[in-house]
Symmetry: D2
């Protein structure tokens, strides 16, 4: 079966359209354009849609803002607010909703550290509710947060750790933050995906084989992700296609190679590249030079979005107050 | 009741002897001197001992090496081996013993980061046993590791997280690593305490109120700790006593102040200092300037000790191999 | 001679007044109170003042804001603006002033990392002026920045490195940022000192023996510092005085000890404490638990203040733009 | 002119041979095979050689060890010793040689942090020689070290900073450490290049436009580098060639495309790929996932090599002693 090499529903849809020259049956798409960003809502309606797009039934919301990379504080705040709005619409939390925020990924591999860094920045309150023996509050909701680390460092599947903690702490919902892989370099650090389907095997930069979803955890799982790396084979693949079309313009020979490539199914083509690359490219990542700064900025954007959407009486202004 | 302000059994015993001019009933002490370190084994035998020393019934082994701070690789290796020997004697593990190593403390407060840094350096295998569906191996034992973070950052009591993970992963034993507080600056970074009583409320630099012990987790809990900070009030208290004895030598007045101090019960004296200090000293720590380097070195010493004591077929030489 | 154990002119003055029950001759003091902070301007006018206060002739401006530690973004911005105003008044730069910003201290010892972290955050332009071959610009001034490291790590005195760079790059002024030692825990992270006298031997947390001043560098040197540690002996000393006055209220004996302490000159007393402490306290620092966060916040406050005071066409709003 | 896209003389030579099917005139090559590594000594003899290979006249020694990536302590020590031997042969230092070690690159961009991290680990002594007013010593040589940072962060060209420091501190030689770019992923972190020609414009991952060589600094400059990244265009280029030869075996069409590619001069081909990639790939790096660990290990290997080659009375054993 064709192994989808993107974590973004929006890209899975693009791939499908490229190959089949049609919109995906069983999938609904809606666009909303703002000044500095575009929101795309992909809804996978049924089995057919799920099978075609290779993503579970549910909602996938993408906030795209090419200038997010080099954003000033205002744009960052706008994106945090947009994220908060979309999140609220999906979850619609009330002031007694108990939330567990999970930061997936490896703190020590910069492009994979998004999740842990968000966890470092969210405002946790569960221990205060316990200390003061409260069940609700006008401004604060009950929030806990955990960055369990990756299996290679713990020897335990991330999902097992989360499930253990969920059973002990009984949150109403789980929100998982993860770094994603995109097939387009231009999407790196400029796209946020929100979904209500949790995280499913193989997703993300790191390795999480058990699902982190309602089936396994027993409570609804929402996922927030930002692409931080591009798969090397994908990059080469995309480049070749661009080169060929370049060549096409210039030489007649190119067109033959092009038609040959046309002839190959894209999965074959991708597999060929993968085979060729693997021996000397295993474990390589393609990522922006300034990835360290990007991860810091973006984790703050997401943390702020979470803080203002989950806590009933908090806005961006307060966030600074509380977190400092 | 007098609140014991040290995590080290060896210091609790000193305090008792200072105050009562006698050895503690119900407590057995044994010393072993090596070239570069001294091992003291404090055994709390019964209720009386427990009540007098303020530590649960069980074994407390201290490895002291004043030169550990500025140790060369050889001494570090010797200490790792001594640690491994003592640990094996306490645990006596076999090759099917499943171990969960827990790094307590806050990764972002340097003197409290010992536990998390040890976890970063131990050799975990549980996922490999699962992947290859094995239950035993000649060289490797089944080991997992977790650094759950502190309640202030997660909103969850550390012990709850551990219990959740223990219930999901069923280890046979838990080994908890923690940074400790000492009452003597000279013990900072030169003393390792091993015990088979787990970690009890209030211990450690951070805040862990629920016990991390067999009662709560249902499996034996061993603890390894190194003092990395001194409580400011303790330091002032100790200094005053030194000053006074200085003054005694010099002036007659000093002696009166001394007798007055004598007259005060040490807990009163300590409380007085604490009151005086608190308003402007809350959350202060007294720690060595080079604490960052010390924590890195010592976490390696402990991690190596763990790696060679838990895994049946591994020695220090291999440790480098496996970990690189 | 009495060795002044503070880097803050404002504290040197307090010490003098405590001991001599009078204002310092040859020193002018002016106070300005704002909502959230107090500005004190200490002007050392002549040789007498210099000798009495133990600080070179010149201006020492202190911005104190007890709530700075846990400030929200608004207060931080206010402090950055106040810093910028005071700095402009001292320097009065024009758009062709070339500035070299120097971050003193050890990046790897958290409380000493203030200077290097400010350098990481200031907006440098010198290379752009060279690249576009410009001598002036409406918005930007010509700024370079360097964190030379400490002598223990480079083998070179910081001042020698700076002088070498000054001779190669010919700045009009140098601004040095450094972490300071205070004698009062309450001043840690709540006080900013600005001076036009540069940095003189022995100042700061680290070890810088050559002066970093106009005499040595040949251009005016301004210094910005924030206290991040308290000297342990100082702390004990201050505590004892507080304890004694406590005891005085309670017992009659205390008063005798008090009169004895009175009898000792404070330098003797301090020396006694120092002797008593040293054997087991060498290289100890007393610092807040959350020092890592504090240093990050404060370095941003200072960097913002520098960015808006040095660059003619930039305000706080732009700072975010440019730096992201 | 064809822009050579590798920092390694050994690769420049490969490229030449690939294109011209002959050894480079004016260039001498010598190989030495050990158990775990291969040493290749490329000597550029004259103007012709220099022009053909695109590297200045001088010696370029490469130590290659594919297993260095995952080396145990023994192999690392062997490589440090080999590095020390080659370095001594080039420099032949005596005990009064004064050395300045310079760590080039950006501490905050992991794959570019090799130089600064080596500087953190070398044993500096210049300040001790000054303090004790000595000019020579049996065990120690006079060593200083500096990590000046990159122009984007300082506003000053690295070479200007170094020259300023050289003029102030008068070392006899400078040794510059830098991260390099390779054209082969398999060389990343497995190759060390040593040269006596200093660092010339454009070399390295960062941006250093002025030469760091004897012409500019006035003293001999040695360079030690390890490739840590691959240029994305290079990777695509290499991959295409591999794909084409794959296709050749499978289809006849491939061969046509191949002959077309053959027809293009490699520089044209490379430029085409570069054009195609740039719009969406500017500032991308291709680097191993575990780059953080690799940089830490390799900086230790180089630092140890430097410590034992420069200091007359020190061996690897002592290194641990002195540095801890």
């Amino acid at each position: 079966m064709f192994q989808m090499r993107t974590d973004l529903a929006i890209e899975a849809r693009e791939l499908y359209k490229e190959r089949n020259k049609e919109e995906i049956p069983g999938v609904e798409v809606e666009k909303e354009e703002a000044n500095e960003y575009v929101i795309t809502r992909v809804k996978v309606l049924d089995e057919i849609g799920q099978q075609k797009i290779g993503k579970s039934i549910g909602n996938y919301i993408t906030i795209e803002s090419p200038s997010l990379k080099k954003a000033d504080q205002d744009l960052k705040d706008d994106i945090s607010k947009a994220l908060a709005r979309e999140l609220k619409a999906l979850i619609n939390p009330n002031k007694i909703t108990k939330t567990l925020i999970v930061g997936l990924g490896n703190r020590f591999v910069t492009p994979d550290a998004l999740g842990p860094k968000v966890v470092d920045k969210v405002f946790v309150t569960r221990h205060l509710f316990k200390a003061y023996n409260k069940t609700e509050d006008e401004t604060m909701a009950n929030v806990s947060a955990l960055a369990p680390g990756v299996m290679g460092l713990t020897g335990i599947e991330t999902s097992e750790i989360i499930k253990g903690v969920v059973e002990k702490t009984n949150p109403d919902i789980v929100i998982a933050i993860d770094a994603l892989a995109s097939r387009k370099m231009e999407r790196i650090s400029s796209t946020i995906q929100i979904s209500d389907t949790g995280i499913n095997p193989g997703a993300g930069v790191g390795n999480k084989r058990l699902g982190l979803n309602k089936e396994y955890l027993g409570v609804p799982v929402y996922a927030i992700g930002i692409p931080t790396v591009v798969d090397a084979a994908t990059m080469v693949n995309d480049t070749i296609e661009m080169i060929v079309s370049e060549l096409k313009k210039q030489s007649t020979v190119g067109s033959e190679f092009y038609s040959m490539l046309e002839a190959m199914k894209s999965e074959e083509k991708y597999q060929l590249i993968k085979e060729v690359l693997n021996p000397y490219m295993a474990n390589v990542m393609v990522t922006p030079k300034e990835v360290d700064d990007l991860i810091n900025d973006l984790s703050q954007v997401i943390a702020n979005g979470l803080n203002i959407s989950i806590h009933p009486g908090i806005d961006l202004k307060d966030v600074n107050r509380y977190l400092n």
